[in-house]
């Protein structure tokens, strides 16, 4: 892919659009229990926001911005997704049985805490890291 002569329009637009995509991906992730969305779509949107940085700038800029080893992040996500069922076993429940409580946080009011969020967080991290590992591996293959 030959780059255009001057990417000034794309780059300054990226500075605006990146925040909107990332915020929307968080909204998809946290709205997954009651509305369409969840860990998978949220992870894909986050990966898309990071890929937009690669398209507008280059790999080096992404490495400076997000200095995360995505292979390690993949392991963290797998630990979340596999650890959650074992945690529910520790409490004497069935494997993979979710449980939830309601907690009164001073500012937010009555907040429901659900263990499915932890599992979804694992899915989210796995999707982000797998997508970016694929893209970066193909892209760096010069």
């Amino acid at each position: 892919m030959r780059k255009q002569d001057n990417d000034v329009i794309l780059r300054s637009m990226t500075l605006v659009i990146f925040f909107i995509i990332l915020t929307f991906s968080f909204a998809l992730f946290f709205g997954g229990h009651y509305t369409p969305g969840g860990g998978f779509v949220g992870g894909l949107m986050t990966a898309a926001a990071l890929i937009l940085i690669i398209i507008a700038y280059d790999m080096k800029t992404l490495k400076e911005a997000v200095s995360i080893d995505f292979k390690k992040l993949l392991n963290v996500g797998l630990i979340f997704a596999i650890g959650m069922p074992f945690v529910s076993m520790l409490f004497g429940k069935n494997f993979f049985q979710h449980f939830h409580t309601y907690i009164d946080i001073p500012v937010f009011g009555k907040t429901s805490l659900h263990t499915a969020v932890l599992f979804d967080l694992g899915v989210y991290l796995i999707v982000v890291s797998v997508t970016l590992i694929i893209i970066l591996t193909i892209g760096e293959n010069e």
């Binding site: 002569d5 001057n6 329009i9 300054s12």
Partner: protein, 159 residues
């Protein structure tokens, strides 16, 4: 401008904490009172009073909406003609804007007004290459439009 808006928002939050009422209406009332306070202290704060620039931005939005309407009508006229006799052409448009976001805004405004599309920006960011749908008589008027846009963007961004 940004620091003044930040001060204004902090004053509105302070107003909410003083009155112990955390509603949108309370925030808005505090914001209006904070606006008054910032106006009094405008000489001691950096840059000019920020409402001036907000009004200029609103003016730019209004001019852009009018131009969008007019330009769409002119393209509609071209499309509905029985014999289309247009002379498309590229022309280089010299710009005096310097910052990246100014050039991006100008390019977006030029592209969104039909009949003209920005295809490239030169390396030194001094020239925009524009493709126009009809250059017979529109060239001068296009330049007039661009001058107005560019002038307004300069007005918005001046300190």
């Amino acid at each position: 401008m940004a620091i003044q808006i930040l001060i204004n928002v902090l004053l509105a939050l302070l107003w909410m904490f003083i009155n112990n009422s955390f509603q949108v209406s309370s925030f808005l009332f505090g914001y209006i009172l904070g606006l008054f306070t910032v106006y009094i202290m405008r000489k001691f704060l950096p840059e000019e009073f920020y409402l001036k620039r907000v009004i200029k931005i609103l003016k730019l939005v209004y001019v852009f909406a009018v131009e969008l309407f007019k330009a769409n009508l002119s393209v509609l006229k071209i499309v509905m003609k029985p014999q289309i006799d247009i002379e498309p052409a590229f022309f280089a448009y010299p710009t005096e804007l310097e910052k990246d976001w100014q050039i991006t805004l100008l390019s977006s405004l030029i592209t969104l007004t039909p009949g003209t599309v920005v295809v490239a920006v030169s390396h030194d960011q001094r020239t925009l290459y524009v493709h126009a749908i009809d250059t017979k008589d529109v060239d001068e008027s296009i330049h007039g439009i661009k001058r107005s846009f560019e002038k307004m963007i300069k007005e918005v961004s001046e300190r």
